[in-house]
Amino acid sequence: MRYGLILISIFACVLSSGCSNNLLVSGSFPSPLIDSDPHTLGVFYDEEFRSYTYTEASEDRSKWTIEQGAAQRQLFNTILSKLFSGSVELPQWPLTEGSDLDPTVDLVLQPQVSAFQYSTPRETKFKIYEVWIKYNLSAFDREGQLVADWLVTAYGKTPTAFMKSDEDAMNAAIIVALRDLGANLSLGTLRVPELKAWLENNPAHAQIMASRAP
């Protein structure tokens, strides 16, 4: 009788966990092999970005809850600290009355997630997990005037593998997507026309200070 109850409980646990997947995205990102721009960048991640969590709302799909705020912040910090000669994380943006902006900061960047989509092998019949993420990036000057506003997309996929859980496969696909985002940011950011023009026309604070030095 006791064994029967244990078996029923195990079966119930398996059934109840079968349709919901919770994932805290984790991984590491290499530093990009690129030349740095001499400007110093201030980066502001709002609360929504820092703790970005995708929760599947559709009744027809598995109940995925994907927390990727920390991983995407880690990716942005890794790339931006190499793309610009200085990168500072800002506690607040836009500035409120009485708050000061770090004097070394030339430009402020604010990324936001504008879309997140995924597909699983059950839906596509291909043995791969796929993830698409769209980010909206906004760059401001020190006075808070918008310099550039552009979209960056990321795509990642990972094949299914024997003994690999759905969470592990989805995590791998998101890490590939974030690496793709990193590639896009590393090679594409300084080519955004409005941003490129602004960087060419506004010398970096560090350069100005160096030219003033005796």
């Binding site: 990102f29 290499p30 530093s31 990009p32 092999l33 690129i34 030349d35 291909f126 043995k127 791969i128 996929k157 990972t158 094949p159 690496r179 793709d180 990193g182 590639a183 896009n184 590393s186 090679l187």
Partner: protein, 237 residues
């Protein structure tokens, strides 16, 4: 003496029988057939002891990915006997990030100068002493399956009955780029197929056709022969 040691139903006797059965099950494998085609644009391929090779998988297709374990398997075949230095794929791709990502990697050898224009990329290639880049593209997939196995569990025990079979096919192309000449030096294509069986009489007994592994060994050995022709090996001995 032996009969004394292994008297019927003795624990030792049972242990020996179980280990023989287990090793027989592990070593059971189905047949695989492999076809190899090769094209070599230059006959004078060679590699010196301080030069290295990097094997990279193509990941830009929308419905498959070249498996990382296949890439490391080919690498293991190439570096057998420490004859050829092989840089691990993940290490190299991370070191050159973001230039070898699916979005940015050169698809043709004539695209290489585009990334080598970057002094940092050029330095990384030189630091690793890369002589050849081998791009492997392809996949292993299950093309057909049939049969069924049913398992049941009850108060008296558990068991499975039935018979299952599935067919796998591998299709890979390896392209060899010479980093010094920036030329495609040759191509090897490997097609492998095999059928696996799983009869189940109480316990399922998998008889697996190791299709991907056979393709890996075939490509690896052919690449070794490309880079270290048999005559060179004899000279080295």
């Amino acid at each position: 003496m032996l009969t004394n040691m292994f008297t019927k139903n003795s624990p030792k006797h049972r242990r020996v029988l179980i280990s023989i059965l287990a090793s027989a099950l592990i070593t059971l494998s189905a047949c695989t057939s492999v076809n190899i085609d090769e094209y070599k644009s230059q006959q004078d391929l060679s590699i010196t002891q301080d030069e290295s090779v990097v094997i990279l998988g193509r990941r830009h297709s929308s419905n498959y990915e070249t498996e990382p374990d296949l890439i490391s398997c080919i690498g293991d075949v190439l570096k057998e006997g420490d004859s050829i230095k092989v840089i691990p794929e993940a290490l190299f791709v991370d070191d050159l990030y973001p230039w070898l990502e699916p979005r940015t990697a050169p698809l043709k050898v004539k695209d290489m100068p585009r990334i080598l224009k970057q002094p940092l990329v050029q330095q990384a290639f030189e630091r690793h002493k890369v002589r050849y880049i081998i791009w492997v593209d392809g996949k292993t997939e299950t093309t057909d399956s049939s049969g069924s196995i049913g398992c049941s569990i009850g108060a008296g025990g558990a068991g499975c009955f039935g018979f299952g079979t599935w067919e796998k096919e591998s299709d890979y192309v390896a392209k060899l780029w010479d980093f010094q000449r920036l030329e495609n030096m040759g191509e090897i294509s490997a097609d492998a197929s095999g059928t696996s069986y799983m009869p189940a009489i109480i316990v399922p007994i998998p008889i697996i056709a190791r299709v991907q592994n056979s393709a890996c060994k075939a490509v690896g050995l052919q690449l070794r022969n490309f880079l270290m022709p048999i005559n060179d090996k004899i000279l080295a001995i």
